[in-house]
Amino acid sequence: MLNLKLAVTTFLLALLIGCASNEVPDPDPTDSTYDAVGSSTDTDVYGNDPLGAGQAIGDDYTAGELTNIIYFDFDSSEVRADFTDVVARHALILANDATIRVRLEGHADERGSREYNIGLGERRAQSVRRMLMIQGASAAQIATVSFGEERPVALGSDEDSWAENRRVEIKYTN
């Protein structure tokens, strides 16, 4: 039973990777497959060509002030399309200098159970971590921590506050 399950999962995963491979000519980070595929396979698909991912994003790639905060939708750990540029720019900084270290601090809004929210914050931090690594950062450069709902920036109990609190903060630690 378990083996069958495993076989089916492997098959589905292979299928997914297959799909993703077909889309390599268009390495748009906003493409949904970018987040949807499992972590290790992502690295295989995009990791070989980190520059390609950078170029595809557009002319304003290095323009403007670089924010360190990535916001997330409710109940989601997927990096939103409007933040893929930001993550890519941080990835470039890390890829260009292997001595630079960051800590990704994941956060959740206040709703629900606290330890589960630690899990949600970690999932968001990992989602950013994977994106950074796909684009050339190395695992040794990145640490993650999740504070769950323990360190809110907005104190209200409303949609706006919750949206502000669902975030990953990229902190340069050296």
Binding site: R114, E115, Y116, E150
Partner: protein, 433 residues
């Protein structure tokens, strides 16, 4: 470095409870008839000011707070006997008291007292229980709670929990961030003691079965780690500081193992069991989803936990010795932080009920789910050791406050602390004398 300062308190560092603001209790819902009882002021031969604790007041407050009793005001008492021999049952029938407690305190040494009490059934005109307990000034309050426990059990058939404690976390905001405190208090809010203070979050306190230690999560140095602290000495040991998440500790019923959540460098949260003497960890779940909030069944056979392997969080259980997890909850899209009652009959959890996070209690056998709280963001249910009552955190304006509710949902009351955002209450086991 200053922001990482950790202050560890221990039992001797009692904060004057009045100074920190006592926890006061107000009843928010009472669905059962309250039995009128009389707790007559205790006899005392010394100066009134020299009596360390007003025993009758403590007992009456305990009974009142249970939601099942209505103590008769002192001014309505027609007589104030201190022994059973002086009792005139007609006087008590007249004021409609169904039970009467009488007692006295006698000083037997410099810091030694005898507290005696007797409980009488007014209708049957007989004694139900009578006891004499030695006390010191320091123990007199807890002796009063023990007396209340015996009286409560005689009258209701349910073991009293008035001599138990509650641990919880508070957070207070200032210009530079927050101060987090791990607090232990008597279950009526007296003797509030800060056992740990930190500028970094403190989470998930869990009692050892002998109520002598607390496990908790600390984020000192910007990473999570699990600690076990001995209350009496303040001595604390870091028992888990693996890469990634270290969270959600829960003692096994024999106190030798700790279920906890480890995330690892890739952030895959799974339930592990840590042997506290060998420091070896054993991985119990392996799913890619979030598996967390493990807690033991009272017989030690299972660990109940939260997992979102099916999409949203649901409660699962896995044999503590290892095996295949099985899903436990099916009602609703969000069920988390399972805690089993000490008698093993009920499972409490956080349940999303039409947009509100509420405390629900599931009958383990029938699987029937009963919502027992009424807030919008209720969390952290924890059973009293008698399995009859739960404590949890709810919101009052922006701050968390504590409430208790009977497992049948009929009697709900607020326990409000004056200091900051109060969260994650956990009820201690029965004390061992």
């Amino acid at each position: 470095m200053l922001r990482n300062a950790i202050i560890v308190g221990f039992a001797l560092c009692l904060l004057a409870s009045g100074a920190r603001g006592d926890i006061t209790v107000e009843i928010t819902k009472g669905g059962v008839a309250r039995t009128p009882v009389a707790v007559v002021p205790f006899g005392w031969t010394g100066q009134p000011a020299d009596l360390p604790v007003d025993i009758a007041e403590v007992i009456a407050a305990d009974l009142q707070r249970s939601g099942r009793f209505a103590p008769i005001p002192e001014e309505n008492m027609l007589q104030k006997p201190t022994t059973g021999a002086e009792l005139d049952f007609d006087d008590w029938s007249f004021v409609k008291a169904e039970a009467v407690v009488v007692g006295r305190v006698v000083q037997t040494g410099d810091n030694a007292y005898d507290v005696s009490f007797q409980l009488f059934d007014v209708f049957r005109r007989e004694q139900l229980v009578g006891y004499r307990i030695p006390a010191s000034r320091g123990t007199m309050r807890i002796v009063a709670h023990r007396a209340a426990d015996m009286i409560y059990e005689k009258l209701t058939g349910i073991k009293g929990v008035f001599a138990t404690k509650v641990a919880f976390v508070t957070a207070e905001r200032d210009a530079d961030g927050q101060t987090y405190r791990l607090v232990v208090a008597d279950q009526d809010g007296a003797n509030e003691t800060v056992i740990l203070q930190s500028r970094d979050p403190i989470m998930s306190p869990a009692w050892s079965p002998d109520s002598r230690r607390l496990a908790y999560v600390s984020f000192e140095n910007d990473r999570s780690s699990v600690w076990v602290q001995t209350l009496r000495t303040g001595n604390r040991i870091e028992v888990s500081d693996k890469p990634g998440i270290n969270g959600a500790p829960s003692f096994s019923p024999d106190g030798r193992q700790l279920a906890l959540t480890l995330g690892g460098i890739d952030g895959n949260l799974d339930i592990h069991v840590l042997d506290l003497s060998t420091r070896q960890t054993r991985r119990l779940t392996t799913h890619r989803a979030i598996d967390t909030e493990g807690s033991w069944s009272p017989d030690g056979r299972y660990i109940y936990f939260t997992s979102d392997r099916s999409g949203g969080p649901q409660v699962y259980r896995v044999p503590a010795s290892g095996g295949t997890p099985e899903r436990v909850t099916f009602e609703g899209g969000y069920n988390a932080r399972p805690r089993m009652s000490p008698d093993g009959k009920r499972l409490a959890m956080v349940h999303l009920d039409r947009g509100n996070y509420r405390i629900a209690v599931m009958d383990v056998r029938s699987k029937e789910l009963l919502i027992v709280s009424a807030g919008q963001q209720d969390e952290s249910p924890s059973f009293a050791p008698n399995s009859d009552t739960l404590i949890y955190a709810t919101r009052q304006a922006r701050n968390g406050v504590l409430e208790t509710v009977t497992a049948d949902g009929l009697i709900r009351q607020r326990v409000s602390s004056g200091q900051g955002d109060v969260r994650e209450p956990v009820w201690s086991p029965f004390p061992r004398y």
